[in-house]
Amino acid sequence: MKFRKRDYKRDELEFSLSRHSATAWEHPLRAASSISDKKNRDGGDRNIDIAPTSNAGAAENFFAIDDPLRAVSVQSPPEDLLMPKTRASWHSTKKTSEEFADSVASEWDLYKASIMQRFASTGTITVSTKKSVMAAHLEELEDPEKEAREETKIISQQEYVTRLRELNNEIAHAWLNNERVSALRLSIKVARLLMDTSVPQFYPTLFVLVTDVMDTVGNLVWIRIKKKAEIDDAGNSIAILPVDFTSDDVRQEAKDTCNNWFYKIGCIRELLPRIYLEIAILRCMHFLEKDPPLASFQRLTMMMRGLSDPLASAYAHLYLARHGQALLPSDTGYLISGLSDFLVLFRRVLSGEFDKHITLSGVDRRLYVSLVEPVIEWIMQCILKNSNQEEMGYVWHAFGERQPVTLRPGALKGVEEGLDPVSVVVHYLLKQLPAAYVGNNALDLSRMIKSSYDISLPQHLNYRLLGAIICECNPPQEMRLAVLNDVWKVVMKYGDLVEYLAVADVFLDYILQNCSEVEMITMLGDILRHLHQGDVTDSVLASLEAIVSKLLMHYKDLTEVLNVKHVVELLDIFYGDTRLSVYKQILTSISRQKVQDPVTRHFLFEQAQVLHDSLDSLSSDDDCRQTTLLIARFVQLVDFGHDLEQHLAFLVDCRAAFGNMDLIYETVVHASNRLAVTALQMAKGSHSKRTREFVKACITFNEISIPSITSVVPRIHLFLETAQAALMNAMLSHTEGLLKAALTCLQDVPSSRDLKAKEFEEGISSFLHELSSFLVVVPGHPELGAFYILRGLFNLIESQSRLISGRRKVRLLCGILCLLCAIGQEQLPFHVGNQQVDSDDTLYFGDTLFHKDLADITAMVVNMLVTLLDQAADKVQGAYQALDVCNAFLTTFNVDEELNTLCSRLLQRALTSLAKSDSYLQATLQYSEARGCNQLIS
């Protein structure tokens, strides 16, 4: 059989898909997005078309698809804040009063759960020491006369809770049995429990439990009076009250009953139970009066001034606020005055007046103060929920500014300059004010924070909150620097590093957004000064890490960050695990642009080294992989421009430094190959002595590096790659040596293969294919023959039969057939891009011995293929292999009788085993016909 003469260029043109350059508008992804855009727009238009009466919902939906952020602004337009709010009157709200009450109730339920959760753990810890007090109170419940007795039984908090639940049931039971007086008496007893604040940390839980009972009672009374209004004594229904009934619809008997309830509760001697029960049934005022019971709310707020216990007072205010939300949602006046009343009391706590009492109950002042926090949070939320600008200003004035003592004559003498705002109140004020408002008034608010310094809430949390808000909603231009200066004047004096950094962390963001680099450098300098003074602990480092990562995020280029003054010093402070994680962050941040700056490179190299050294046998696989990838990426990104020798030196350093990582070796080898090729390009194809030496150094470097790689597949691929680089640079002996090394390497593959056999085989076969295509241009050995390497390859396939087998082997042989065909051509399909390298077509032009050898080898390969086909066990597989071979034959050989019979046999074999519609079979048939092979198909 003779090789056919091939025109590779024509073949390429014929068989490749036609190409045309895409314009920007034809980009497939681009097209898709523009189509969907259009579709969206159409959808939106249609929506509006269908509902031209400004169907806001549809429009919003449309926006929501388009841009989720815009949807938010659509839902709450900022004008809302500026519009004077119309006071919702009782009449307008009453229609939905039931629903409204429900929504408030569900909100309350969530809040209750959070209280219970928040204080649950502290309750159980310390209650055990003070059980006796509660026990005494329980007994008092059972029998008021027992009070004086000394004996107490030990009960736990859980039992207390259970007892309360029982009481709740008893009340319900008594109520059902029409014993309303005893139900009332029981509920008074329950309310009285709240007078006991001797176990402060249990009080919030107690409050929740007791108010549950109170609410139950309130509901029972409401239902009863409603029933009374609807059904007369004889049990006849009079009229069902409309949903939005007023006191006019209620008959006198029901009103009398209602009044009686208020009378009965008004006669309770103790203040606290009286307040709670009145709040519980306050809703029933609706039966008596048309207007909302504003006066009652105000009076109850005033009455709470009589509660001297801070906890009791706070929670009573909370309970009033909770019911106020349902009954008087629009009015906040009573809440404001109530809160300021409470603050008078609270300031006494903060100043230590209650310390004796607090110590007696076994807690410290800070914990005691924290118990009040949820109350302030809720009340502040209620106050600011629906407020407009003007009201906000008022609230802020009331709680955020220095309180002139003159408002309360004789209240606290000796404090001439006024009272500072309480920090916990300031905190929740800030939290509840809209961000835009905070932004616009940032300077005044920061002054407010400055003046509030007490133990109710650490000041730095307030600054942190302020910082976070003004990052979100920047203050006006002219105020920006002033705010920063104002805040920093205070913060820079902080002694506690953690607190200091917590604020610095947030304000760095602010500076990056709003100020120039000068401020930032000053800030970093200040941070550094603090760090040198203080004790750097792990938590300090954690905040510092956040700061560094912000800087990294802000600057696009790492070099810029490093050039900022103080940054390097800051980085030097890290140690331990935090240091590693910061380094990782830094390495991650460079993954885009080239590293050219020598300082940055050196810096990164050191960090990479630290990371590398931190890995040991105990490190997790993920950790190793991540670090390796980061370092490899770094090595790839390093760029020395034209200074190739320097680059090679760097690669040598890398190899030395990151010896434990295969991937780094691979990267280094790739980089070095690239250097070799770049050197050739720079020499414009002809090496001088110097460049040749350099390239030699690169190749030698690789020759040394590659054997250190543990896994076989990358190793052989790299050998091949280096061989290619060497050939390009006209280093024939190196090329040969490298190819031999690769084959030897395969020869020595240990017999026990790992589990990834398939991948391994894939790797090997792709390598062999690549090798055979490379062999097209590798010139033959002058002494050992033109097919020295190829013979080595055959040896390998034969001796190490488990490396490659089955269809892969068939394909490889087909590939080799193509290689032989190419070599047999007068001109090779491609050449090495270096003029100094001659390939076989030049070397052996017209050499008959060479062509004889070629024909021998070809015959051998054909033989091998035929033998292989006969060995194929599986019929279908065999058929496919036959098709493979047939194709290869048709491609490589001239059509003659021999080929004809051979191909017919192969096709026959495929036809018997495969379905006729099989596309591969069909394509092969067509191809054979096109080649003029007129086989007989019966």
Binding site: M302, M303, G306, D309, V344, L412
Partner: protein
Amino acid sequence: MAVELKFSRVDRVYRPPDVVEGTVLIITPTSITHQGVRLIATGTIMLQLSARQVGVFEALYSSVKPIQLMNKTIDISPAGKISPGKTEFPFHIALEPSKGGLVDSLYESYHGAYVNIQYSVGVEISRGYLMRPISSTAEFIVEGQRVRVPRAHVAPEAVNFYITQDTQKHILAPVLRSGGFRITGRVATRCALSEPITGELTVDSSTVPIRSIDLQLLRVESVNAGEKMATETSEIQSTQVADGDICRGLTMPIYMVLPRLFTCPTLSAGAFSLEFELSIVVTFDVGLSKHAVHTEANASKQVMAYETLPLRLVRT
């Protein structure tokens, strides 16, 4: 068999010149022959002398005669027979003082310790000589007529008060006397019975911590016992205004709901008088234990400060 009196109003409150209406309800399994069903409406002032004022002996023996305000007898059914089952006799009684009585108008119902003003309706079914008459009584309440007086007329007469260590007539604990305190406020002393007592109270200063501030509603009942009046003051209701050592300078509201039946308009007749007072009681916390206060009455009084204001209750 049961005899029941039912009033037309659930709360049984009638104001002259209302007519008391109702029904007598007789439920009987057998038929009853009777000699007439008679209704008796009475109104009486019962007076009692305080043993402390006039001595035990006199209190027991010289009981003061009750004063009759109203006494009416109405026959609602002539002699006849009541058939088994439910029988109802409706009745109407005009509220008017008995003719030739001591008073020209009816006083309001009032339940006190030494003075009681009560109105009741009794029904009696007489059944001949040998049979026990069947009877039943029920109380109803008389309230003064609601005069529609314009608000301005009952403008609250606010009385200012102040309590210091110097206003106290009893012996104070030394620590109180030396430390000093000052509590000021005002109360509307002329108040309507249907409205709560209102006012305000402020602790201006007190060196000793306060344990509690309470309002006490007191009744002052005087009964004429021959040549002198036997006067007795007792507590009706106590309401706490402040619990514990409250903030100085914060004004707290005084707000006390008046209990019904136990109060009535301030009244002064020849044989007796009814007056009411409001007492503000400040209890200080001088470090005494609860037990000590309980056991030594004297000691407990020493740690308290009072201010008592006369009230003028009116029906509006």
